[in-house]
Amino acid sequence: MLPWKMLLWKIARHLGAIVALVLLGGLLSATLVRLAPGFDADERELDPALNAESVHALRQSRAGEHNILSFYTGYLRGAIHGDLGTSHALGQPVQSLLRERWPVTVRVAGVGLLLAWLLASTLAFTACLWRAPAFEILGISVSGAFLCIPAAVLALLSVILNAPGYLAIALIVFPKIYRYSRNLLAKAYALPHITAARARGLGEARILGCHVLPVAGPQMIALAGITVSIALGASIPVESLCGLPGIGQLAWQAALSRDLPLLVNLTVLVTLVTLLANSGADVMIYMLSPHDA
């Protein structure tokens, strides 16, 4: 098969898998929501000002949610027409909530991710190039210390120190990138053909560009896909505790108020973004080295 046909086939396969997993994830979370204790309870029914007819009308409005499949098909039908339902706790359409909050998360998690990659890759490359034990110990100790601090504590510390939220996300993601990429680079630098290239007097920049990156690159790209998911997860404590009105804060608010329709939508959205990031990384790896992939 021609390379571009293979690429198209790969993209189509990924898209199919994404659609299947998102639908399955949505159905699973809708099932969990339906089975959750207190699913049918509505605090508004306790309002003494409401008469029997109003309470009956409230119950009727939720009647469609009782059967899981009809709830889910109704949800999908609405989603196709751009209606994702209404948040119980915030009383706003979910679609408008997501539209308002998504850019904040993209900005905070995006800048945090970029900073984390810059810091981690600089440290990892320097550690592998210099091969100084002191630098190695420093990198491992710093990343190890950050790995041992809960993400929520880093968010709290950023509030106390008046640091921006994206810095907390960067420090949460940094140790994971550093440890993995340092190991990858160390393995690549230990390969015999790189020792031979050094012996022949090749410059470090050329060794890195022509011999190390082609070996470690594909796995680094795969890691980039995974770090999107880590940054999204980190955005929950960071946005909640730093008062940033993004998707993470919305998920936390939905969890505290048990806003189940909002949680289903957020689950679908986060699953979709994570899968797109991982599939994007996979397709990029294929495009860079179709023969290896």
């Binding site: 997993l21 399955l24 994830g25 699973l28 979370s29 969990l32 929501v33 089975l35 959750a36 204790p37 207190g38 190890g144 210390a145 790995l147 041992c148 601090i149 809960p150 993400a151 929520a152 504590v153 709290l156 510390l157 106390i160 998911s229 880590i230 999204l232 997860g233 980190a234 929950i236 404590p237 909640s240 505790l241 998920a251 936390w252 939905a254 969890a255 505290l256 048990r258 189940l260 949680l263 957020l266 689950t267 986060v270 699953t271 994570t274 899968l275 991982n278």
Partner: protein
């Protein structure tokens, strides 16, 4: 065993021992309020001072450490057993079962861990007794944390399924559960141990995150998560540095776990 690993082992054992002796070291208990001394600084009576409602912080740290350090391994055990059942059996059976199990684990792993935790925690009642909240928190960790381990175990079991000794056992007439229990499961033990030990620090961190977000162990029961929540009111480190003790203890214990794990030859 190298020096760092020995030291880490001593730290973990000492912290466990001290937390188990909480009844003798802090007889006042974690819930007793000293109403005449709220927000007190450290003194001979209260080694780490008191919190805003007058509870002895030292006692709360000891009892909180006990809860987190005892229940995180319990949750790790639950998740490892589930991983062995799902991943081990799927790998052993192969074919459609292996593909199904991998698809299911992929679905679990496609959601960020903390997001999955708070979503499932929100589905369960939030206004419950402290004891129930502890059980819910750690049970959720155990029931949701198996996916990554199951992925590793399914690969190991898949490799074992086609190994020579399993083929020979099959040829000798051994089939079904007996073959799995006698020949496959014992060979998965190293991977199971590794996954169990790796899960403990992950679950300790997750409980801490849930606790700080108000979705963990309910008051007045202490845990590392609820103790760290106190940092929310901290204005500067210089004013009340003793409030950082739970955080420092958590970092020390997790670093020790990391050292223990990194020194050990963990099979992948």
């Amino acid at each position: 065993m190298n020096l760092a690993r020995k030291l880490a082992c001593v730290v973990v054992v000492s912290v466990c021992a001290v937390s188990l002796a909480a009844n003798w070291l802090a007889p006042a208990g974690y819930a007793r309020q000293f109403r005449e001394a709220p927000n007190a600084p450290p003194s001979r009576q209260h080694l780490l001072g008191t919190d805003e409602i007058g509870r002895d912080r030292f006692a709360r740290v000891l009892y909180g450490t006990r809860i987190s350090l005892l229940l995180a391994p319990a949750a790790a055990l639950v998740s490892t057993v589930l991983a062995a059942l799902v991943g081990g059996l799927a790998g052993y059976l192969g074919g459609i079962w292996l593909r199904l199990a991998r698809g299911f684990t992929d679905l679990f792993l496609s959601l960020p861990w903390l997001f999955l935790l708070i979503t499932v925690r929100a589905l369960l009642p939030l206004n419950v007794s402290p004891l129930v909240s502890v059980l819910i928190t750690f049970l959720i960790l155990g029931l949701l944390g198996w996916a990554a381990s199951a992925r590793v175990l399914s690969t190991s079991a898949d490799a074992l399924r086609n190994s020579d000794f399993v083929l020979q056992a099959r040829a000798s007439g051994l089939h079904g559960p007996r073959l799995f229990l006698i020949h496959v499961l014992p060979n998965l033990k190293p991977v199971l141990y590794a996954q169990f030990w790796i899960s403990i620090p992950v679950f300790i961190l997750s409980e801490a995150n849930l606790g700080i977000l108000g979705l963990g162990v309910a008051e007045p029961l202490p845990s590392w998560g609820s103790l760290l929540r106190e940092l929310e009111g901290l204005i500067s480190f210089r004013e009340e540095p003793w409030r950082l003790v739970p955080l420092l203890l958590l970092i020390v214990v997790l670093t020790s776990f990391q050292t223990l794990l990194s020194s050990e030859e963990v099979p992948a």
